[in-house]
């Protein structure tokens, strides 16, 4: 597991956490709107270091967040002033990212310096490969479109490993169409099989869900990151796609942290049972203190068997 825990102070809409968030190898964040889910994922997206280039957007991690909010670094600070403090538990060490409007500063086990260098050392990953280590997919269609550029640069690897065919086959299980392969035309397309014809459909014309699925699966497969982060996991996905994608994720070794509003995701998790899974229900008080309750997969299953909706239960109780 890459990141064990996270404590947040004065970042985005979160003033503080009442206790650090502990992650499992497969972690699902639930909670009502504005409960802090996206802020938690954005904090994680700054790993492995703020100045590392985000693989998908080709901007530095910190610039990527600033750009997502279309503002200055002040927009990342709680109530737009002061400083944010993000404390990550990684292996047995503590990495800290401090953000002010002048920029980020980092420290590793209380020593000022690059956390990327330490992560590179600990995980034996060359520094120039760190941008592939953490992949963050926000709920943003523009960024999904931008992935195409990155897919193109991975063309040889995708084809060498046969992913151009495997991904088409995977998509076939989710939709009624029949595709044979991904084809690196301009723009990238899928070869669709008709009984007496073949045509090339551009990825962007598949519909948001299918486009997102193919693109992020392609990246994840080839790059094999340490951590993947997906905000609003189910956005654009039919339940069939949710189920198959979760099943696919379950088989992967990387750490997965996603946010969702979907009861389908919870039902399928219970069916699929990924190892080392936890559900974190986030709740933010009117004073902007982030609290959370942890549910194991067994506990989630028990609640669903009692026909109790865990999302609404925890929300109503404001735990």
């Amino acid at each position: 597991m890459f990141v064990r825990n996270l404590n947040i102070t004065e970042f985005r809409g979160i003033k503080a956490c009442n206790k650090p968030l502990k992650f499992s190898n497969f972690t699902i964040l639930i909670g009502k709107n504005n409960a802090g889910k996206s802020s938690v994922l954005e904090a994680l997206s700054l790993l492995p270091d703020t100045e590392i280039i985000d693989y998908i957007t080709n901007r530095s991690k910190i610039e990527n967040l600033r750009s997502l909010h279309q503002g200055s670094l002040k927009d990342l600070l709680y109530l737009y002033a002061g400083s944010s403090n993000l404390q990550f538990g990684i292996e047995s060490s503590t990495a800290i990212i401090k953000i002010t409007e002048n920029g980020p500063a980092t420290s590793w086990d209380k020593k000022h310096g690059s956390i990327g260098t330490e992560i590179s050392r600990i995980f034996s990953i060359p520094y120039n490969k760190l941008s592939e280590m953490v992949l963050y997919v926000p709920f943003n269609t523009t960024i999904i479109r931008e992935i195409e550029y990155r897919m193109r640069s991975l063309k040889e690897l995708l084809m060498k490993k046969g992913y151009h065919i495997k991904l088409a086959n995977f998509l076939n299980e989710c939709v009624n169409d029949v595709y044979s392969e991904l084809v690196f035309l301009e723009p990238i397309s899928l070869r669709k099989i008709y009984p007496d014809n073949k045509v090339y459909l551009q990825l962007k014309d598949l519909g948001t869900g299918a486009e997102k699925l193919i693109k992020i699966m392609a990246l994840f497969e080839v790059l094999n990151p340490k951590l993947i982060i997906i905000d609003d996991f189910e956005a654009g996905f039919h339940p069939t796609m949710i189920k198959l994608f979760l099943r696919w994720l379950k088989e992967k070794k990387w750490q997965t942290i996603i946010s969702t509003h979907s009861i389908d995701v919870l039902y399928y998790l219970v069916d699929i049972k990924p190892a080392d899974t936890s559900i974190l229900q986030l709740n933010k008080s009117n004073e902007d203190i982030l609290s959370h309750e942890v549910l194991t997969l067994d506990e989630l299953e028990d609640l669903l068997e009692a026909n109790t909706d865990p999302r609404l239960l925890l929300d109503a109780l404001r735990l």
Binding site: D302, L304, D309, L313, A316
Partner: protein, 211 residues
């Protein structure tokens, strides 16, 4: 009494859990609650959008509620079809298999009140077995007979296919007569409702009496 799905402004409540599948229990409970007018008491029911027939397995979550959610008063609703022979024995056995220690069992006509303990937590569990024999539709059939003078054929109620037929027949009759379950309950006196929905009302009355 009222059925709620949010707890804003509510301090004392009873959580409702269900082992039934598709069944209008929420609607029935909501309207029966209105007949029991103590406004302070609340039944807290937040069912999943798609309900599953889980029967007594719904009780598996009992230890979770006090431990994780500080909920100690729980109403468990299940159709009689999920009970093989003896509700009391089967429910107790199920609870004990989950490590719950039974302290006291009070039989209230067709309902059970079980005072029990899960770890350090005290729990009061109100168990309501629906339908005189099989399912709530038997009670709905009686309500329809009372209001519309139409007898629903319940002879196939012990068969799965028969139960589906009865559920559809009830829907069909209500549709044909332009009536809803809500309307029928609202227009029925409390005493008659207590006869028809005997086990539910027994528990609602008991809760009303509690301090």
């Amino acid at each position: 009494m009222r059925l709620v799905d949010t707890l804003r402004g509510i301090e004392s409540y009873y959580l409702v859990i269900s082992g039934n599948g598709t069944f209008p229990e929420k609607l029935i409970l909501k309207n029966l609650c209105k007949k029991f007018n103590g406004h302070e008491k609340a039944l807290f029911y937040i069912s999943t959008p798609i309900k599953k027939q889980t029967g007594l397995n719904a009780l598996n979550a009992i230890p979770l509620y006090p431990k994780k959610f500080q909920i100690n008063s729980i109403i468990f609703i299940v159709d009689g079809e999920h009970i093989d022979e003896n509700a009391r024995i089967e429910i107790i056995e199920h609870l004990e298999s989950k490590g719950i220690e039974i302290k006291e069992i009070i039989t209230l006509q067709g309902a059970l009140i079980i005072k029990c303990k899960s770890g350090p937590y005290d729990i009061i569990l109100y168990c309501i077995i629906l339908g005189p024999e099989v399912f709530i539709e038997e009670e709905l059939a009686e309500l329809i007979d009372h209001h519309l003078n139409i007898k629903i054929d319940l002879s196939q109620k012990t068969e799965s296919v028969g139960r589906k037929f009865i559920k559809n027949r009830i829907k069909q009759v209500l549709k044909e007569r332009g009536k809803t379950i809500e309307e029928l309950i609202i227009n029925t006196g409390k005493i008659k409702l207590e006869q028809i929905f005997h086990n539910i009302c027994t528990v609602l009355k008991k809760i009303e009496e509690e301090q």
